[in-house]
Symmetry: D2
Subunit: 309 residues, 4 copies
Amino acid sequence: MSELQELVEGIRRDLESHLGEGKVADYIPELAKVDPRQLGIAVATIDGGFHTAGDADTPFSIQSISKVFTLTLALGKAGDALWTRVGREPSGTAFNSIVQLEYEKGRPRNPFINAGAIAVADLILAGHQPREAIGEIVHFVRFLAGDDSIAIDHEVAKSETETGYRNLALANFMRSFGRLDHPAEHVLGVYFHHCALAMSCRQLARAGLYLAAGGSNPVLGSRVVSRERARRINALMLMCGHYDGSGDFAYRVGLPGKSGVGGGILAVAPGKASIAVWSPGLDQHGNSLVGTAALELLAQRTGWSVFGP
Amino acid sequence: MSELQELVEGIRRDLESHLGEGKVADYIPELAKVDPRQLGIAVATIDGGFHTAGDADTPFSIQSISKVFTLTLALGKAGDALWTRVGREPSGTAFNSIVQLEYEKGRPRNPFINAGAIAVADLILAGHQPREAIGEIVHFVRFLAGDDSIAIDHEVAKSETETGYRNLALANFMRSFGRLDHPAEHVLGVYFHHCALAMSCRQLARAGLYLAAGGSNPVLGSRVVSRERARRINALMLMCGHYDGSGDFAYRVGLPGKSGVGGGILAVAPGKASIAVWSPGLDQHGNSLVGTAALELLAQRTGWSVFGP
Amino acid sequence: MSELQELVEGIRRDLESHLGEGKVADYIPELAKVDPRQLGIAVATIDGGFHTAGDADTPFSIQSISKVFTLTLALGKAGDALWTRVGREPSGTAFNSIVQLEYEKGRPRNPFINAGAIAVADLILAGHQPREAIGEIVHFVRFLAGDDSIAIDHEVAKSETETGYRNLALANFMRSFGRLDHPAEHVLGVYFHHCALAMSCRQLARAGLYLAAGGSNPVLGSRVVSRERARRINALMLMCGHYDGSGDFAYRVGLPGKSGVGGGILAVAPGKASIAVWSPGLDQHGNSLVGTAALELLAQRTGWSVFGP
Amino acid sequence: MSELQELVEGIRRDLESHLGEGKVADYIPELAKVDPRQLGIAVATIDGGFHTAGDADTPFSIQSISKVFTLTLALGKAGDALWTRVGREPSGTAFNSIVQLEYEKGRPRNPFINAGAIAVADLILAGHQPREAIGEIVHFVRFLAGDDSIAIDHEVAKSETETGYRNLALANFMRSFGRLDHPAEHVLGVYFHHCALAMSCRQLARAGLYLAAGGSNPVLGSRVVSRERARRINALMLMCGHYDGSGDFAYRVGLPGKSGVGGGILAVAPGKASIAVWSPGLDQHGNSLVGTAALELLAQRTGWSVFGP
């Protein structure tokens, strides 16, 4: 067994006693049903290695992690013009806060808070019906992961659509400032569906490999974005990927990462590996409690950090 | 001439036509007198190389860059207990904003906004008279740079003391929540003096070398902090080092950095080099306009980035 | 000609040179079409007197003035239980601000800002279809004014419905906190329609007479609310009736009043008269500029003020 | 015994069982020592009547009630130019909030929140030493009440000076925007001393009589301000006199009033009477709990209300 495989399994073992800690997201009814005592870890190295531990093959709702993929897709379509719609700064507020939008006239602070991802979804809709835009996103994520079995969990999408008042408020608020080109219902149709993508840690780690490897997936041999764009997406993940807990994540883990309220986190060790963890219990900022702990151990034990030798 | 030396000089040349852009800080009367048409660059590599261009030997007021050094010093004294006083999150507001302090009961968001650095100064004061604490800081910065000529510009310190009403407001506000142990006047005495340290790019790049080299200065052979602490200080610099322009700096430059309203920026390429730039004109967030441009060019041309190969 | 009649005509004359000042509301397209050079004044005294000047018979969109009538109606249905849904404090923010809703968990500060009136509309909907609730409001306003010709301007209602993204945001935001019982579209259907009531100054002054006369309309001989409730509605009008310009209105005019972005203001001189003015140009807070000036002159010249002999 | 005397005694009796409710202010150490089970009521009618009940002759710290008197004094000195320094709008925030000051560049919303009263104290200082300005205020209040025994409680003033960090923050913050002409320490010297005036309900009701009687004290035969200015001060008291509980006070009591954290309230029934109540326990907004209840009963039983017959 390789050293990295042992290391990953060790982390899973060391966190056994913490399984179930945190609070499973309950504002999306479907998510509240998940068994909290699960932890999956998957590490895809850029030289083709692959290591998993725990529940790494169980699909979960990736939720906001999808925002990394839609940002990538939207940058491909709109290029830097995207930044006229969304900023690149941490928000200093909760993922679903509307306060900043009022003070800054409907322009979301970054593409990883809800408002920002809604603006990104609006860009992806350009020239499309919602159904087509959703199809394009699913297709893109399958391409990234090299796995055509990835699909949307329609129960989750339905659950979000029925209870997504806060996101409806965000979208309509932005529209009142002329910040959306499409009807709020269409934009949220796209938004709720891409958040409802179901993926396992295995699939997620593979899908993120392009960010670790300078923009192309070395296993699949496919280029996704330029080297520079990969860096920039990583920068955004580090700065804004964990909402108002981003600073703490950077301090403790030291790697770009993006969390979702389903309990997943995609982390990137540039030049080394793409890592996916999943454990449903969340901390106060909506980030996976045990998942973050797993990444912290992984960073410590591998020495992976963007912040120093 | 070495490749890096040529590169540094090329950057200085390429920015010639931009010298004088931006707005020199005027709220500290002494700073308003500086000639804006200056640009200094200094790069200290961890293998002992040293390269400069432009006004790299002109001392300037390092202002908030000093917060990196006082944080390092305070962590040495208080350890992780420091984090009960100050947070580790980007603020999403201006460097001198008081709004967040009211909402979060007097606990500053991070050690690099004014309020946070005031809390750090309060920790350094423990068991000291202000004069002693100031002496200790000067001594520490001389030790970091290996240069006993570094000193405080007392005209600047006096200028700040006489006009520092906003910082007096911040300190008294924190004190009203029981967040400071010492009188506001003492704490600000320390604060204003360490902000008034005068250093050249040459001195600054040397002083920051421990952050690039895993916590010890390879040229002087002195250990400053542990490898892990160096990483963490870098993480804080990246997340919070440019106030409400931190996200943009991470996106464009991709390196941890700390700016000061004197126009200086200290940037760190972990495992590679410590970089100091200086040009007095500031952008809307209070960060050096031409200095940032110089770092962006340097990152592009060297390929240095924490975010990817 | 009576003294009051002369006084009212004199005010109209004295403001001739100011007609057209201010800015006509343009966020509701239909309202932007109104000729700004109009001023109507109507005074209904509790002893049955009636005096008008200028464009007092031209119907205009009463907009937020309707919130006084829907509050009266909702208090009749829900009684003091209404105050579990809405507060009674000035907001310190703009009429359509959403910031306070986030800080205070979806409970609007008072029934006269948009969010508060949406909560009131939700209460009026209880047990009704939107169409019935709208019918009930129209019926009630006709009863107050003793005038069955009062009707909704459906062009305005349509215009608001099509562009009311900000109100959709407010309603959905409140719904996300469980603060609305009905779908946002239904509640806003009621809201947009009652705002689109078209009334002349003559009709409006009559409709407000119950507030000047201790809760009953002395001309029609109909009791509307108790003496105590009339006082309390007047208190709310004084405190919150002019959004973030309420303090200024109390200072200058000294009477309870409620403005609408159509340029109308209903003011109450308790024990004396109900006054309606209308002039389309608005000040920075969305209150009629010339209308407020007319009320200020009226208060000065009659000596009417709640604040002293 | 007169009807009003019986009424006042009845209120005192009816509130017996509530004495001690609320929370005595503890952020000023001297105030925390007061026995909470006290209630004083004094009513001075404009026809010279005078009625008291309970602890109406016990001096207490009038605290923010003094802001009514300093506003009156400052308006006499600066006239309407005062309003370039301070606004006239309710703040929608706590009495000691600093948030609004940042958003509105150091201009306080009204003269009755702490920041506003500090701006007023700065105006009174013009051409004076702090000691002289304090003397002038004491002299003025003695003149208003016709009672030369009124004095400052120097223990309270000292206690506030030693713990007034929040007010120091407010003053320095305003000074950073150029909103104060004098050093913060001087302005706060005046501010803390006028807040520390000790008065009984008897003295306070007399001092407020000019506000009930159109600007002059009918008992002493002295004119204080014009009829119009008396109205306007009453308007400000109603709109802003109870901080973020002003709307509730207007709704329940229906009279202009100003509260202090010492537990006192001065209320004005224009054309009828000046009323002072005192009971130390405070509600969540810092207003006397039992004192407000006493005023509510008084308003109900006398029918006094500015809002209707």
